[in-house]
Symmetry: C2
Subunit: 210 residues, 2 copies
DNA sequence: TAGATTGTTAATCGATTAACAATC
DNA sequence: TAGATTGTTAATCGATTAACAATC
């Protein structure tokens, strides 16, 4: 399955859920693509990698396609997620309902700050960072969300990987080095803004006359 | 400039800042690539689009390259950023120091909740959502960060665009429709986790025997 | 000069797009 | 059957990689 396709599947899943909520039983590549913000050709091509069973002349069964994508993404089993770094951002993410809604269980919170350890956030007691391996083992977490300061991100990541985590979503700026069997996704807010600045640049810095 | 290159420039900038902090005056494509997590061939290729002036046999002048990338990304002028949606996540982002550190000015906060409007967050007074156009005009914001509930994201986005915003960074799940002159970057935490789940999937759901 | 390292070229690879035959 | 819509094919496009000539 092409990586670019995998990266779009969550968007299709969401679009399907919106379609299902509207009560529709069937949908078309045209409608679904519009909702997901891609072309219908792209959508059909992507779904073809799933060995999808739409019906020519008819369209896709909403619930069936939803299940197909859910299985393909590996969301049939609930994945256990550990969050490391309960600062402002970590706190916000821990309380983010979308995580549980979309098939994940937040099973642990870890922080290095003694003032934070022991407090309850999102129904979980924050555990100390010096027992990272223990927390991973006890919770069975396979995915970690990293919201630590950039300076410690690599070290924490190394410990997580050593403890058995195979997927890391990091919000710390800077590249993380991991072994080949581990998957890293990086969200860097400042980088995103800088990319937007690039496009803004061409349009003049003054805000423009209307 | 290829989009893929633009998307990597912020990473190079950050790598250069780390290099500068270490006191080095010169660097090589090899070293910089290692820091940025790409190959040296990729880095040189990317920099070639800047018309970069490294010196063969010598390397790159750290400060000079830093300025080149800063100019290329349009970061010579400070971009004004407006944040809409001061919930958990919006609050965290408003207080995120990295935004100011990396060349942006947070110039306004907006929320629809009367209980939040009027409070001070990150040194700014939260303004009411019904005056979105006015806030954009007064602040001269060209970039907006969207941390509203998904249900209102499209409507808020439309208003921002109508008011003159040309770049939107959205954290709300779901595709945003915008006119061609507007640039959207989307961060979807749940989608990122689902992509990680895909890779986790292949490795078995049990946590694995060690 | 000899060693190092860039900038560029050419080859490869993967992703997107458009068109249409298959088929419901 | 006629109309609709998929799944697939082939063409295009863009991005990555590897190698090396240029040159400091």
């Amino acid at each position: 399955m092409p990586p670019a396709t995998v990266a779009r599947l969550p968007g299709y899943l969401r679009a399907l859920e919106a379609t299902a909520a509207s009560g529709a039983v069937l949908t078309s590549s045209e409608e679904l693509a519009r909702r997901a913000g891609v072309t219908s050709a792209q959508l059909r091509k992507d779904l073809s990698h799933l060995g999808s069973y739409g019906r020519r002349g008819v369209g896709y069964d909403v619930q069936h396609l939803r299940e197909q994508i859910t299985v393909a993404l590996g969301l049939s089993d609930v994945r256990r997620v550990l969050l490391v770094g309960v600062g402002n951002l970590g706190h916000a993410l821990a309380n983010y309902a979308g995580i549980a809604e979309r098939g994940f269980a937040l099973v642990g919170l870890v922080d290095a700050d003694p003032a934070v350890v022991g407090t309850t956030v999102a129904g979980l007691v924050v555990e100390p960072a010096d027992d990272l391996a223990g927390v991973v083992a006890r919770t069975g977490a396979t995915i970690a969300v990293l919201t630590t300061p950039a300076e410690v991100a690599q070290r924490v990541c190394d410990e997580l990987v050593a403890a058995g985590v195979v997927g890391v979503l990091t919000f710390a700026p800077g590249a993380l080095r991991v072994p080949p069997h581990v998957d890293v996704r990086a969200v860097d807010v400042a980088s995103e803004l800088q990319i937007l600045a690039f496009h803004d640049r061409a349009r003049g810095a003054g805000g423009g006359a209307s």
